[in-house]
Symmetry: C2
Subunit: 117 residues, 2 copies
């Protein structure tokens, strides 16, 4: 039993990492939408806050009818209730990771949670 687990992800339409990484506090997925495409449904969440991090390409999110342009380097946090849908631009695909965590679950972090050896 080690205290770590490593997985290498190649470009792919979607890779779900919860089971592969043996995660217990998050689900993380890697996603690519082809140019001109979109996630084919609008969704919200019961418990989970989502954070999207754009890795490459460009596109947009529509969240509660607001349209938000997205390019590489953008992080976007969405509260559970936000009705969201993601789109690639017409010209470019978009690749991003999506992190799901339970809203209000973090208690301490960084200096307050670390033990320096």
């Amino acid at each position: 039993m080690t205290n770590y687990k490593k997985v290498s992800v190649e470009n792919a339409p979607r890779v779900e990492l919860h089971d592969q990484l043996e995660l217990t506090g998050a689900e993380i997925s890697y996603n690519t939408i082809d140019a001109g495409g979109c996630v084919p449904f609008i969704h919200s969440h019961k418990q989970n806050e989502e954070i999207y991090y754009i890795l490459s390409g460009s596109g947009k999110a529509i969240i509660d009818n607001d349209e938000i342009d997205l390019v590489a380097g953008d992080f976007i946090k969405i509260s559970p209730n936000g009705a969201r849908q993601f789109f690639a631009s017409k010209e470019n695909s978009i690749s991003y990771i999506c992190i799901q965590v339970k809203e209000n679950s973090l208690e301490e972090f960084t200096a307050n949670d670390a033990i320096i050896k």
Copy 2:
């Protein structure tokens, strides 16, 4: 009050996103270590599982005395108890995001937590 918050991150030594993104279930940081450099301490955590995702460059982690090579596309999950230190390679810098979440805090995810509109 919107259900989302967006932040754009440019290349930088370190950007901490918890407050900027108004996160409640995670802390996420963006980090770059220069070629030949390292995080100057070994640490573990009290409560938090960490997930590192390598964005570019190369380097290694030493976790509980195991040496793990890292390149772009690698995800590595570390349990709270793992004693960890990160290094850039001699030739290249390494950029990564680090996600902190409370161990065992995720209850449901993806299809079990989503509401399709």
